[in-house]
């Protein structure tokens, strides 16, 4: 060997970590599994109506909103699963396998290692979601004719990544603290289930749905007045209008809705089940503009990402490698 190494610049070290992490991410079987499921569901969505129209022997009607409607439908479970498989062992797995030892003894600061891993997660999600959305756009155009609002797909993409990053930082933080991928996964799943299922049920029945707005996940559920739900993502229209979710998982969907309906106002109701007449009563609670809901969700998301990133970074920075 003849030439000596020169002290690496920060960007060189950072890119080396990104490459190290990306090569890991793209070889994770779990990630391929989730991508395969996402593609299977997208394919099903693409061809279901084709199959049904053939079975019913009726012509397939054009749907210019197919791509944007389906693209915004990745949803909370999708974001969570992508986050889980991308980073559940990103830090903790290095400790478990012992690969952290050669990694942390290289002339790269732990902060750079952390930032590199975060950026690699971003690139991985960017790649997976982009391919998925392009597939939907091309498939939708081929099957359902020219598509409307395709220019909004980058916003869907950005919103999806930002939403996923809340879960990414939570799982990373738990993994970095526990140094266990199993704990990171279990805590993540528990939190997601708790917030999405238990939280929703509690919030609906207690009438305190606003609490969910400030928690990671789908948030509280309201209805945008005067918007025909058939033209936009989620087709649940009780009592009237498009259902809007206020949480960190709904940024992309809400942004698209807001761009298409800038003055949209969302009403929130308390649901009461009447056992005596087997009916459901909706009691109006309050209303908010969609733009305010988005702004609040963005701030909430940013706070979560920053706080959990800090926890994960600090845990890695302070970690001692005894084993």
């Amino acid at each position: 060997m003849t030439e000596k190494a020169t002290h690496p610049s920060w960007i060189t070290s950072f890119l080396a970590i990104v490459r190290y992490e990306l090569l890991w991410n793209i070889r994770k079987k779990k990630l391929y599994g989730v991508v395969a499921i996402a593609f299977a569901l997208a394919t099903l969505e693409l061809f279901l109506r084709v199959i049904l129209s053939n079975v019913a022997n009726q012509p397939l009607s054009a749907d210019p909103n197919f791509a944007i409607n389906t693209g915004t439908g990745i949803g909370s479970l999708g974001f969570f699963l992508f986050a889980l498989v991308t980073v559940m062992n990103s830090i903790s797995g290095e400790f478990e396998s012992g690969t952290i030892v050669p990694l942390l003894t290289k002339p790269v600061s732990r902060t750079t290692v952390f930032l590199g891993k975060m950026f690699a997660a971003f690139v991985t999600l960017l790649g997976a979601f982009t391919v998925l959305l392009v597939y939907l756009a091309l498939g939708g155009s081929a099957i359902y004719g020219p598509q409307n609002n395709l220019h909004l797909l980058p916003i869907v993409l950005l919103g999806s990544i930002v939403s996923t990053f809340v879960w990414i930082t939570i799982i990373l933080a738990v993994g970095a603290l526990s140094k266990s991928s199993m704990v990171a996964a279990l805590v993540g799943i528990g939190l997601w289930l708790g917030l999405i299922i238990v939280g929703q049920i509690f919030a609906i029945f207690s009438g305190q749905a606003w609490v969910l707005t400030y928690l990671p996940g789908t948030g509280a559920s309201g209805y945008a007045k005067g918007i025909d739900s058939s033209t936009l993502p989620i087709n649940m229209s009780i009592p009237t209008g498009l259902q809007v979710l206020t949480g960190t998982d709904s940024i992309g969907t809400n942004l698209v809705t807001c761009i298409l309906h800038p003055s949209a106002e969302v009403e929130f109701y308390k649901i009461e089940f009447k056992l005596e007449n087997h009916g459901t009563r909706y009691t109006f609670l309050y209303s908010e503009t969609l733009s305010f809901i988005i702004a609040r969700a963005v701030v909430t998301t940013a706070v979560y990402i920053l706080v959990f990133s800090f926890i994960a970074w600090y845990a890695l920075k302070r970690a001692q490698v005894a084993e």
Partner: protein
């Protein structure tokens, strides 16, 4: 004299257990320094403090005068480190791993393209660089560990049990490799439980037990300082009581034991007294068939030192 490694009062505890206890260690630059001790002596803990994986509870550790506590990439840039039984990401190929680590050390793409094949050849992994590390044997991972420790031509190479998992041929190759590295002016700090390895490769040695350095010096000095009685083993004919008595009369002989036609003569000198012994035997009517001088090896010194330390510890506990 430049110190490559210096620890002052270095202490590291795991709960109630003191793994490293006020360790003062000086490793001069351009030497091959062995770090010997039984399992659990505190060797790996000391090394982990030196490379920044552990923070000391007390004392300081310096590499070429720079303190190592905290996250200090500048210090790590000067070190090549091979952990004990190194673990690398199984999904990466050998080449990819070295290429990425090379990038972390600031090697340009061209430098990596030039240097990696040489390094792979040096450690005997040429032809296997495109295989995933998950398919490597323990010995191959060990070789990869050595390769990655030499990537940046470091000023100091720290090797934690480099022969572990290697076959006998591999062990010999590693020893030659270490000698080769040192010839180019690199300081090598080598932790090993293989005493003969340290004896064959190192110029200096520190023996550690229960976190305490028992002795630290050149190999020769350590052997010299603690050398016990040397023994002459002689096979003779006509072994008589008079012959034994005559041998006992020699000033440098402390004891003579006879068994069959074999003599074990304990000497209290390190001078070569074989001719005087030979003359005494011949004059006493004996004929020498064979003569071996049995000295104390580093292994004996090691066992003796560790034994003494444990006796002392036992005595303390008893008191």
């Amino acid at each position: 004299m430049t110190l490559a490694i210096e620890t002052v009062n270095l202490t590291k505890r795991y709960g109630r257990l003191t793994a490293v206890d006020r360790l003062d260690l000086n490793v001069s630059a351009n030497t091959i320094h062995g770090f010997l001790g039984p399992n659990g002596a505190g060797k790996t803990t000391t090394i982990k403090v030196l490379v920044g994986l552990l923070k000391p509870d007390d004392g300081v550790a310096r590499i070429f005068g720079q303190e190592v506590s905290g996250d200090n990439p500048d210090v790590r840039f000067r070190i090549g480190y091979m952990p004990e039984l190194p673990k690398f990401p199984k999904h990466l190929k050998g080449w990819e791993l070295l290429d990425i680590y090379g990038q972390m050390y600031g090697l340009s793409k061209q430098q990596r393209i030039d240097q990696l094949p040489k390094l792979l050849e040096l450690v005997g992994l040429k032809g296997r660089e495109k295989d995933q590390i998950g398919k490597y044997s323990k010995g191959m991972q060990q070789r990869l560990g050595i390769a990655q420790a030499l990537l940046n031509e470091p000023e100091l190479v720290i090797l934690d049990e480099p022969s572990l998992g290697l076959d006998p041929v591999g062990m010999v190759e590693v020893r030659e490799l270490i000698k080769g590295i040192a010839k180019e002016g690199t300081t090598v700090f080598l932790s090993s439980h293989l005493l003969f390895e340290v004896q064959q490769v190192c110029s200096h040695v520190t023996i550690i037990n229960k976190g305490v350095a028992l002795v630290s010096d050149t190999i020769e000095n350590v052997e010299h300082k603690i050398r016990g009685p040397t023994t002459l083993q002689i096979e003779v004919t006509n072994l008589t009581k008079i012959l034994v008595e005559n041998l006992k009369k020699l000033s440098f002989v402390t004891d003579v034991k006879a068994e069959g036609n074999k003599l074990n003569i304990m000497l209290e000198t390190r001078d070569d007294v074989r001719s005087q012994v030979s003359e005494t035997i011949t004059n006493s009517g004996g004929t020498i068939l064979s003569m071996n001088l049995v000295g104390q090896s580093l292994e004996d010194v090691f066992v003796q030192l560790v034994g003494k330390a444990e006796e002392k510890e036992g005595g303390k506990n008893h008191d």
